[in-house]
């Protein structure tokens, strides 16, 4: 079973993402309510896909991504950014740090499901 880490500080948004993910297939969702929580989870868990928000209270999503890409177990793990910021500069920044996809909120559940299937089947 593939495991997906969802890092998002809004509880409502998180549960929406989880139900979207669970509706599209047999995936196990690991939740992190903050960047710190994700930092703590990542070395211990086996994660196949990372989804992260950008604006979070402790460390921002960009900082999380730079950590993920430096961690040898996650160098090639698919990573999606889901953010309210959709300016060209933001997208460019996220992708240059190593995100595979950049989705701008409000996201379409169908699009997210499509991408999940595309990356991890």
């Amino acid at each position: 079973m593939k495991r997906i880490l969802v890092t998002e500080d809004s509880a409502t948004m998180r549960s929406l993402l989880i139900s979207t993910i669970e509706a599209c297939g047999d995936y196990e969702v690991v939740e992190a309510a903050s960047g710190f929580e994700a930092l703590r989870l990542l070395p211990r868990e086996q994660i196949d896909l990372i989804i992260t928000d950008i604006n979070m209270p402790d460390i921002n999503g960009l900082e999380l991504i730079s950590y993920v890409r430096k961690n040898s177990s996650y160098t090639h793990t698919p990573l999606f950014i889901i953010s309210t910021e959709g300016r060209e500069k933001d997208v460019e920044k996220g992708l240059s740090l190593g995100a595979n996809e950049y989705l701008v909120k409000p996201i379409s559940p169908a699009r997210l499901q499509e991408l999940i299937v595309k990356y991890i089947g």
């Binding site: 409502t12 549960s15 196990e28 460390i59 960009l62 900082e63 950590y67 040898s72």
Partner: protein, 688 residues
Amino acid sequence: METEMSDANDLTGKAVKDFLAEAEEILDHLCSDLGVMSDISEDGECNPDSLNSVFRGAHSLKGLAGMFGFTGVQELAHHLETLLDSLRLGKVKLGANVMTLLMDSLEALGSLVRNLADGGGEDPDVGQLVARIDRAVATPGESDSESLLSALGLPASMMNALTEYEEHRLLENVKKSRCIYSVLASFSLATFDQDLAELTESLKRSGEVISTLPSVGANIESSIDFELLYASAKGVDEIAALVTDSNATVRVLGAKPSAGQGTSQHVTVFQPETEEPAQISAPIDTAMTAKSMSRTVRVDIGKLDELMNIVGELVLSHSTINDISEKMRKEGYSTVLSELIKAAKGLERRLNELQKGVMEIRMIPVGQLYEKMGRIVRKISREQGKKVELKTFGADTELDKLIMEDISDPLMHIIRNAIDHGIEPPEERAAAGKEERGLISLSSYQKGNHVVIEIEDDGRGIAIDKVKRKAIEKGLISPADLLTDREAIDLIFLPGFSTSETVSEVSGRGVGMDVVKSNIAAVSGMVDVESIAGQGSRMTITLPITLAIIKALIIASADRYYALPITSVLESLMLEKKDILTVERKEVMQLRESTLPLLRLDGFFHPDAKRIESDSSFVVVVGVAEKRLGLVVDDLLGQQDIVIKTLGTMFEGLKGISGAADLGDQRTILVLDVSGIIHEVTKSGGQV
């Protein structure tokens, strides 16, 4: 894999409710942050932290509203965010007018969200307010920021991870000719958040922490490194001295820019509005009230504890008044007395209402636990390749919030065990003539002063032979011990007994039933197991409804009074001498079909004192977790509400006493610690 927990419609309704609750919370935060900001803005400088916090609030609200298609909220939040972003980035100055505009926007957002909560739909007409905001946001002027930043020569990996805001803060600090440092520290993965907070705190006293970049530590499993981008007017040696506690290293980044460079940034001072009064479109205006839409208040539970203590004291004062009137009756003040008694009765009624009211505030429905358990069932059954259905009953049964929190982990482990060991794989179930889908039912109900939670599965039941064999293997019992089936089942609660060889994934580590038991005992709860081979098991957890004020049974033993928490008392009986049997030099009695070990309370506290034999005494059957014990006492003096006070550190190691309580007639009595007593008895070799 499927559960009956939720269907699609339900989810949408719940999601919207969640949205409204979270939106309200965000707005509350925004209002208080804005308050802080307005205090500071008097002297022109605004705290970047609180401004950033307001920005993030508006940002989250925009994102949430967008998800749900609430366009009015989304649009207004979006423009508000733009204004805040400009403030944050220094493109707009925070003056009285901007402050008013911010306040107005928050109020409008509040009324939009309230309208949604009332089911009235939102009023999308936020045009006027949006126009005001747009006017306030200036078009950003050209700035020399790029060149200033590139002069710093930061590595691209670091620059890329900075948000626009962080970039701006960096620039601001460079312009103020502060030194930019990189502070490198390595922390243990287990404690990094506190360690980092400490480091950040000490750094903040002499400068600004701009960003926190995590990177992989020397040992990926146990450590994590952080590189902090830090600006300060102080020299490198001073900064290094600041962080010696954290073992951090400090490095100067880039060349120090010459003073005065880039001080002329384009800043628009927002001009006062003249043509438009500070108001927004009418429909929103009328809905503008300070009324909270969800009609709930978030309160620190500590405050409720305090309140409960005061109620407890009041109850005691009341019983003092009762005692005085009793004394007066004996001494013959009959005329005023009846009035006093009447007044005291009225007071008692009000007190009961008050006590009940305060108690109810602490109560939350167990349905909140069920939701969590539903997810766990789905997760574990998937892991194990088993088919499990979770049925829940009595979701609206209420329980003290603190107890609820403490019971969540034990419940999770019981459910995990039920799926791990109880429910068979589908093939095995089919072969046994059962439905392929296993059933776990979770039910709660109130029973007197207790809440009972039952977890029942229709799996293979507990294999008593296997349990006995395992206990012998582990040296927990000797092969010669003759145990009834009941006693054998209770072996699973012994420390060191765990039939599971694999480490559970849900909790990260395997937790035995002994931990479950002690967690339940910690909230004065009891746990019972019943199991029929081939048909399933049932765990029954009995919990007190609340821990704040407890009902106690007052008992007498050797002329001393003690209070016994009623939540630990199962029943009390008259005890005649002939009922006492002796087995292996221990006193026991036959209670229905089981043997109950007895303990004489006077003997427990005064082992050397001479025993005064009385012809009739009482036995109070007490229980903690799965253990039962009969306390032999001289007299029962009835029930009373008590508030337990601790005895202080001087009496800490005292066995069998959990505290003291006031009886209201100036008498203080000791409160018995049932689990401590049972523990002592078990330690001294007794079977309980």
